[in-house]
């Protein structure tokens, strides 16, 4: 049984579209990234799935409970955690009292352990808390009953970089314990760190649904190469290279100004996006007088922009027809932890 399954889930606020015809499923034990810019409908989807508001059309199940069945969903929420981007907490009491109250409502099996990692000042009134402390308190409340499924709406907002990293690490550890996450975000770097699959939402529609790895594979690598000769773009072109651009000090004939690696000789810097295996690329590049080589993952921002840049209706059609979204096997080994491989020759 999928942890979450939506079936043409649609929510309108009067005439204003929140989300429309969302159909996807989140498997048990995965971290599902829900990506989109502000106003795309991420929060609307989460609020509808949590039962805060009823769908206009379509429906969904959360841990098997139909979201239109208030009683079934209430029971299911015993196994669900919720972490909003702007935590709504009672500010007139201390953090400790609030934890006791919410623990009584949903059960408290691990707040002490959580408080070792996320440590807001418990004896102060919540109104005196900084944004980050409030968020940490909300994290403790969201996880204290050890839920199986956790909805997170832009969860790192308000946390300092160290705590952000701790939260992401915590999510990975919790996933290993079998938890499922629905992780909404507009920050790509954090999504690639924790998510297994991503759904990209734009203007209320799902425009992409894919493995993070395939998304990255499909988007290719950004290759920047500096060679000690005057080369043409055609010379460097191999299969799988796109958007080849020649720049830098060697783009024109003689140039003595020289870069750090120029040493007075002719040099050319070429950059391109490359999809394919490393071997043919490296063999090809070694035919040149290689001064410097950088291969890095294409920024997810670029991929993101691509989905935002195109007509969403067209995209929706293709997602729904299964033309995109079928997760392809990764053909690239070894790029899991090495975003940047550098070879100085």
């Amino acid at each position: 049984m999928p942890a979450i399954e939506t079936d043409d889930l649609t929510k309108y606020y009067g005439d204003v579209r929140g989300v429309e015809d969302l159909s996807f499923s989140v498997r048990e034990g995965e971290v599902f990234g829900f990506l989109g810019p502000n106003g795309a409908g991420k929060t609307t989807a989460i609020r509808t799935l949590m039962g805060f508001q009823s769908p206009t059309e379509g429906t969904a199940t959360v841990l098997g409970a139909d979201i239109r069945d208030a009683e079934a969903l209430r029971a299911a929420r015993a196994r669900v955690g919720f972490l909003p981007s702007e935590p709504g907490l009672d500010e007139s009491v201390t953090g400790r009292r609030l934890i006791r109250y919410h623990g009584a409502l949903r059960g408290d099996v691990r707040s002490e352990e959580l408080l070792e990692v996320f440590d807001p000042p418990l004896d102060r009134k919540v109104r005196e808390y900084s944004r980050g402390n409030k968020q940490m308190l909300a994290i403790v409340i969201a996880f204290m009953h050890d839920p199986d499924l956790v909805f997170m709406d832009e969860p790192t907002s308000g946390l300092d970089p160290l705590k952000q990293e701790e939260l992401l690490e915590f999510i990975r550890a919790e996933q290993r314990r079998g938890k499922t996450f629905f992780f909404s975000s507009h920050i790509l770097s954090e999504v690639r760190k924790v998510c297994d699959r991503v759904g990209i939402i734009r203007d209320g529609h799902l425009v992409e649904l894919e493995d993070v790895e395939s998304l990255l594979d499909r988007s290719g690598k950004l290759v920047r190469v500096r060679v000690g000769a005057d080369v043409d773009t055609e010379d460097l072109a191999i299969d799988g290279a796109h958007d080849v651009a020649v720049s830098g000090d060697g783009a024109s004939e003689s140039d003595d100004a020289g870069g750090p690696a120029g040493d007075g000789q002719d040099a050319t810097t070429v950059s391109f996006t490359y999809t394919g295996a490393y071997e043919p690329l490296l063999r090809h590049l070694l035919e040149f007088d290689l001064l410097d080589l950088t291969i890095e993952e294409a920024p997810l921002e670029d991929i993101f922009m691509r989905f935002y840049g195109e007509d969403p209706a067209e995209r929706v059609g293709r997602v729904e027809n299964g033309e995109v979204g079928a997760a392809s096997e990764s053909g690239d080994p070894g790029d899991e932890d090495q975003r940047t491989e550098r070879a100085d020759v």
Binding site: Y13, R47, M50, G51, F52, Q53, S54, A70, E71, R74, A75, A76, R77, A78, V80, G81, F82, P84, E86, P87, G88, L89, D90, S92, V93, R97, Y101, H102, A104, L105, R106, A138, I141, A142
Partner: protein
């Protein structure tokens, strides 16, 4: 069980203390000036200049007794109007305030039903009502003894006990406003306004052909003046108030269950 009622009750204790002190001070002041007015002012002479209809409607002829004086100066206005409006206003703030500040999301994320949340928040609303009743009862009982103008304790207790159904209906009306109004400020204004509005309505229609309009006002079913001066307890009125409370809460739960929380 009742975690929410407990939590919310605790939160209301400071307000309960402040209101208790304020109303006790007011009651003490009324008691301090009472003997002088009762002894030195000829009420009949004073009221001769007033329209008889007004005197009868407001029960002003009772001003010359400590019971009547207390009822008219403390219970008929400050108690019914002031505390009643406060309770309605507090009720209106509950759900609407939680929704406005996003606290409702954190609550509804827990495996708790909306019905339960609403009813427990309503119960917590009665905490200050009970505290203020107990404190003010004690102050008035002690104060009347101190100034040498004792009143029947049973009547005094009845005035406070019978005010509970009245405040319960005010609070329940506030809960309806809280779930039905689009915004917190509107909910609060409508709830407090309803108490003041019905109070005026029933006062102004007394003795007119439109007196039945006043039947809609909760004050019609709770009359401190009659309790204190005639020892007549309107139990049927209390029953009507309790029934109305139940009906209003039913409506509030229903509306809350059906609406979107945004």
């Amino acid at each position: 069980m009742f975690e929410t009622a407990r939590f919310e009750s605790e939160r209301r204790l400071p307000a309960a203390a402040v209101i208790s002190v304020a109303l006790s001070a007011f009651a003490a002041m009324v008691l301090l000036i009472a003997p002088g007015i009762i002894d030195e002012i000829d009420v009949d002479e004073l009221l001769a200049g007033y329209p008889p209809a007004l005197v009868e409607a407001m029960g002003l002829e009772h001003l010359g007794t400590i019971e009547g004086f207390l009822a008219l100066e403390l219970y008929q206005f400050v108690w019914i109007l002031g505390l009643g409006a406060y309770v309605a206003y507090s009720g209106a703030s509950t759900i609407a305030g939680d929704v406005a500040d996003g606290r409702m999301d954190t609550l509804l994320a827990a495996p708790v039903s909306r019905r339960r949340l609403l009813l427990e928040k309503y119960l917590a609303l009665l905490t200050p009502v009970v505290v203020v009743n107990v404190v003010v009862f004690a102050v008035v009982a002690a104060g009347t003894a101190v100034i040498g103008e004792p009143v029947a304790l049973a009547d005094l207790a009845a005035v406070h006990a019978l005010s509970l159904p009245y405040f319960m209906v005010c609070g329940a009306a506030g809960m309806v406003a809280s779930v039905a109004a689009p915004r917190q400020l509107i909910a609060e204004g409508v709830a407090a306004g309803a108490v003041v509005g019905t109070f005026l309505l029933q006062s102004l229609t007394i003795g007119t052909s439109a007196e039945w309009v006043g039947d809609l006002a909760p004050m019609r079913y709770y009359d401190p003046l009659t309790v204190l001066t005639a020892s007549e307890y309107d139990l049927a009125g209390a029953g009507i108030l309790l029934a109305a409370t139940g009906a209003l809460l039913l409506v509030a739960v229903r509306v809350f269950e059906e609406r979107d929380v945004r």
